[in-house]
Subunit: 329 residues, 2 copies
Amino acid sequence: MKDVAEIAGVSVSTVSRVISGKFAVEEGTASRVRSAILQLDYRPNLLAWGLRSRSGKFIGLVIPGIHEPFATMIGLLEEYVTRGGYSLLFGNTESGPEKENIFIDDLISRHVDGIVFSGVSEKSLALPKLAGTDIPIVLFDRVFNARENVVTVALNNEAAGRLAARYLVGLGHRRVATITGPPDLNLCKDRLHGFKDEVSRLGAALDERDIEVGDFSFDAGLKASQALFARKSAVTAVWAQNDLMAIGLMRGLASLGKRVPRDVSIVGADDIPFARMTVPSLSTVRQPFEAMCRQAVSSLLGYDDLSRSANRHFAFDPELVRRESAQSP
Amino acid sequence: MKDVAEIAGVSVSTVSRVISGKFAVEEGTASRVRSAILQLDYRPNLLAWGLRSRSGKFIGLVIPGIHEPFATMIGLLEEYVTRGGYSLLFGNTESGPEKENIFIDDLISRHVDGIVFSGVSEKSLALPKLAGTDIPIVLFDRVFNARENVVTVALNNEAAGRLAARYLVGLGHRRVATITGPPDLNLCKDRLHGFKDEVSRLGAALDERDIEVGDFSFDAGLKASQALFARKSAVTAVWAQNDLMAIGLMRGLASLGKRVPRDVSIVGADDIPFARMTVPSLSTVRQPFEAMCRQAVSSLLGYDDLSRSANRHFAFDPELVRRESAQSP
DNA sequence: TTTCCGCATGATATCGTTGTCACATAAAAA
DNA sequence: TTTTTATGTGACAACGATATCATGCGGAAA
């Protein structure tokens, strides 16, 4: 910057003013400065800028894995974040809470301007630690401990359960099963509650023994296929709380010689890119990731002014995507 | 830091020395400093540190998409990078060269310590721009213009083509087809050349009309299924240059009523997580992503001392993964 | 003419670190 | 005892930006 000033024959102050554009500079000097910048191929030092302004100009993303649907979320968040002139710093906390801990410390040290947080479990040390700072945070997808003052962005999980139930029972299934995610996650409880309640409200049956507890993984779906269908079963339809388990279930049923959807109807949740690629393609309860990510970023960057009175908890409605994996029994 | 110094009754210099640990400090003062740090919950400011040391302590990742196999790569790179005490800044350049351009500028402005570069196309402005800086760069996966002085990490693509050919012809297929990626990518040419050459060397046939040009997407595979099999065809096996197209092909064949692998054998490339999840599961030519990512990071962070004489171009050998989608005709 | 205001610009302090230099003290060598 | 050496510590400059304050200058109002 000093060099630029020298070449243009002005002071660094003036160079700074030309760059920021927020103050009046005579056109003659301004153009001299601009050509000096071009000549030297000058690029501002964001480290120095950040030090001065106490803002690193990035958004941190804490995420419990890189598999779908998180990959999709990462891509979307990156897009919105960079569009706002920020950069995305992301950390995968799958490997454990220590990793989460050092990542959060790093984010604080780097003076991130906001954090999108999707924790592995509810017992995270991150929140109390962050409370001591002025870093805005959005609890994303996996919401817990929703204190009033923290913004949350998530699916309306109970509605998702109800939607799946209405679809399957509506198709004519009388005896259904389900595979849940990790039971310590609120979202799983909510989805299960919605599903269970709607199934019984509509007069169909969900036996307690037909509720399989999974962990959102392909292998959990595989295992569930054994647990549910290795023996003769009256179940004709299954809702898996995410697509990965649904796909595992389909894969397991194929090995058992059951046909989907002829013998068993399957519905997933998320609508990951692969849902349309499987054979048969997967009917699923879609999460509106685009809208959710946009909301998360604009909450952090302060695009929507959530005045004190405004709602800080955003619950997005799921949407049913009909494909091939479910039909009438 | 000043506060810490005050509480501990020492100067900031001493605090700095205690933190860095690289200079002798009397144990008494050191422990006083440490307890002051704990008491204030002091965290160093990485922006200031970076400004002083001209190093932002991160690695930039330029990648042409967030879908597989890039998601896997991102996860792996993040792991190795953070393990080395750095952070990962990543940018998706799928949306075009302007995005790539501003991302590269951002990386320079942030004083990244290295860049893992996987460009969309060969005509990228990034390399010349980066040449003016002292930022180390590794060309990853998509290698081009491999000047001697730049490190490259990639699959041995010709070997991948040969491996696929040997497998399919070895199974007994006499007439094969293939789907390539974007033809302007060197890696596609190399894969095609290896495949073509090995097929004819082994005495089987790859007709020019049975070479479909794709773009690595699911839909390209879908389209290829029409182009290759909508009419009667003597082709009994197809190699797709990546798994996504192979899965699209399988999906398309299912719609055409062809069975895989009974009617057509299919082999992919990459071995993305979903390759084992499809029905039938996908046989594929595996890229050793773990080793490749580890190599990329350690080259950048200078863990392996590539002395001037040492090889700067790393080509990793592919590995055949036998699953269900290919069999003898 | 004097006074005052607005405008473009420069000098300088500051952000939170680390590195360089100087200095005091104590121990070792003369 | 005097000189040297080693050791721990503090003061201060620097990294590259921005923000605050001061200043010179031209024109409008008195």
